[in-house]
């Protein structure tokens, strides 16, 4: 099991001068500490126009700053929107290769297609087309990274033969992932040999079935890249505090704030009838699971909130169903003071990480970080 941290970068109103800078600075301070503590990776979303919920519209810049402040942590796009109105595929190949170089070969590339009308409508993208454009992009990217010269004539985009530069450090190329939100996307990931980057919690039982399907299908995949990434990652909240009551209370407040924020956005399916988005997508799933059946402390099953013992139980539960990585959201709208977030990371590293055999954190956790 590996542990990462995951950023939406939510910024509370009022948006007085400096508030965004303070939030970004807090995130970067957390990233630096997480690197010292032995967390494996930092991930950043790409979202646009999502007021308060996410101000992370240029993740490649944020991740570059993360790479400059860390030594070991991998830096992950969680995800790059593979829709031409958002990102031209040539630019994605160039930017990711550059980030791989600057990070010393620590890049992970998550791919996806956006699920809100805020974004799809804002860029005037056609919701019916996003699954198809994503498929074209993920088939082209590895070739753009690995072939000296590349040309393409496709459905959503084309280019004459050119040399796309620079090339990534990692060989054959950085690991690729797919954001799994809509039902069945884990199958799309498995068939293409791509990692499953879970961005909804899902119940543990539901996730177990998905993981089994994924493992069965990826064993016979036709990889779009030159390497198969057969890892399953899930996302979770983290607030770990030695005082049980305080851990539960503050953690629940973060959950509630996140749900409240996410609800205000307009899911693609609510606004635009299409079979391309069979579920309401990421946001309601996060809400549903984060407000699902709870234990006596009021914390839903599988959510990493509470004292170290409870957080350990939650993580072990995910490990037991075959999840390889958990990426944690650490805050929402800055409801948790920065010092408490940092302490939560330290407490997790000290009391929870050492219980996981494959965690790269053990040595660092024993040291306790700064």
């Amino acid at each position: 099991m590996k542990f990462g941290i995951f950023y939406e970068i939510s910024v509370p109103r009022p948006w007085d001068p400096g508030v965004e800078k303070r939030v970004f600075d807090n995130c970067l301070e957390q990233v630096a500490l997480a690197d010292e503590l032995g967390f494996d990776s930092v991930w950043a979303v790409e979202h646009h126009f999502l007021e308060e919920y996410s101000h992370c519209s240029a993740p490649e810049l944020f991740l570059t700053a993360c790479a400059m402040r860390t030594k070991k942590m991998r830096v992950g796009h969680g995800i790059v929107v593979c829709v031409p109105e958002f990102n031209h595929p040539i630019k994605i190949a160039e930017r990711t290769a550059t980030l791989d170089i600057l990070s010393g070969g620590r890049l992970e590339v998550g791919t996806g297609r956006s699920a809100t009308w805020n974004e799809l409508g804002g860029f005037r993208a056609n919701p019916d087309e996003t699954k198809r454009t994503w498929d074209e992009f993920v088939r082209c990217l590895p070739k753009m990274w690995t072939q000296e010269r590349f040309g393409y004539q496709g459905r959503s985009w084309s280019m004459p033969v050119r040399t796309i530069l620079p090339k990534p450090i990692q060989k054959p190329h950085p690991p690729m992932w797919v954001a799994v939100t809509s039902p069945g996307t884990e199958i799309d990931a498995a068939e293409r040999g791509l990692g499953s980057l879970g961005l909804t919690f899902g119940s543990v039982k539901e996730q177990e079935t998905k993981v089994q399907n994924y493992r069965r299908i990826i064993a016979n995949c036709e990889p779009v890249g030159e390497v198969v990434n057969n890892q399953v990652s899930t996302v979770n909240f983290l607030f770990c505090h030695e005082d049980t009551e305080k851990g539960n209370k503050i953690g629940r407040r973060m959950l509630g704030t996140f749900n409240f924020l996410a609800a205000q956005l307009l899911a693609a399916r609510e606004a635009y009838p299409t079979k391309s988005y069979p579920s309401l997508g990421l946001l309601p799933s996060l809400r549903k699971e984060a407000s699902g059946p709870a234990d006596p402390a009021g914390v839903p099953e599988g959510i990493a909130i509470g004292d170290p013992e409870r957080v350990l139980r939650a993580c072990k539960r995910w490990e037991s169903v075959g999840v390889d990585r958990i990426n944690f959201l650490l805050n929402a709208l800055e409801t948790i003071p920065q010092e408490e977030v940092l302490n939560s990371l330290r407490t997790f590293a000290k009391h929870v990480m050492p219980h996981f055999q494959d965690s790269s954190s053990q040595a660092a956790a024993a040291g306790g970080g700064r």
């Binding site: 009308w117 609800a263 205000q264």
Partner: protein
């Protein structure tokens, strides 16, 4: 913090046509073969916020739903109703706050107002299906054009692709005289569904209790469906002066 509605409820109630609901205990009403036209447009969010009570929060981006539905059979005979709603959230749930409704049948308007609090007035409401478009038109009883909305370029989809949201109605409860918000949770069983290009031909915000504040500025989508609709019994009512988390009461299971 996230945005909330900023409507002055008392002022709005004084100037708007609101229903008088006859208590919250009502039986479900199933209406077979409804023909439903829904057209969504983005609207100015700062103004829309002023048309939402603090009970709910605007969706970002704010959007208005223009709905025209023909019910070919009912206990009070066939009728056609048109609503204008603003997309919102009650707590974390998607809802449409109904600003006003027009119905072409006095009996139907009475049923809908007394049983579910629809802010319904009698007017001329028509829904016409042509080979290339579906058209909804509303003219007030005084002869003022209130709405003309179209779905162009008809294309078949599945009913499962359509995601309607429940509506909320500000009304006055006859039993205690208080203003309240009633949540109406219909159930839909689709037999046909289409999607097309939305086109708002004309719309007079003032005739829908919106003053000059409902300003459509960007088309989103249009759908047309045939479905059996069941207006369920009322389960939740809310205080229009409190947010939905604090001010919602369950009145039936």
């Amino acid at each position: 913090m996230p945005l909330s509605g900023t409507m002055d409820v008392a002022a709005f109630a004084a100037g708007a046509h609101l229903a008088e609901i006859h208590g919250f205990k009502t039986d479900a009403w199933t209406l077979k073969g409804a023909q439903i036209l829904n057209v969504y447009y983005e609207v100015d969010i700062d103004l829309a916020q002023q048309l939402l009570p603090v009970t709910v929060r605007p969706v970002i981006p704010a959007y208005a739903m223009f709905n025209v539905t023909h019910y070919p059979e009912s206990l009070v005979g066939p009728f056609t109703i048109a609503d204008v709603r603003l997309g919102c959230r009650a707590g974390v749930r998607p809802r449409g706050f109904t600003l006003a409704s027009y119905v072409d049948s006095e009996a139907a308007a009475r049923e809908l107002a007394h049983r579910w609090g629809f802010p319904a007035r009698v007017g001329k409401v028509a829904l016409r299906a042509f080979h290339d478009r579906i058209v909804g038109r509303v003219v007030t009883a005084e002869g003022k054009p209130a709405l003309e909305v179209e779905m162009l370029d008809r294309d078949f989809i599945s009913g499962g692709d359509i995601q309607y949201v429940s509506s909320m109605h500000l009304c006055r409860n006859r039993e205690d005289g208080k203003l309240t918000i009633v949540q109406c949770d219909p159930e839909w069983t689709f037999s046909k569904a289409e999607r097309g290009r939305p086109n708002l031909v004309s719309f007079d915000s003032a005739l829908w209790n919106g003053g000059d504040k409902v300003r459509p500025n960007w088309p989103i989508s249009a759908s047309y469906a045939i479905a059996d609709v069941t207006l369920s019994k009322i389960r939740y009512v809310s205080d229009p002066n409190q947010d939905a988390f604090r001010g919602t009461t369950q009145v039936a299971a």
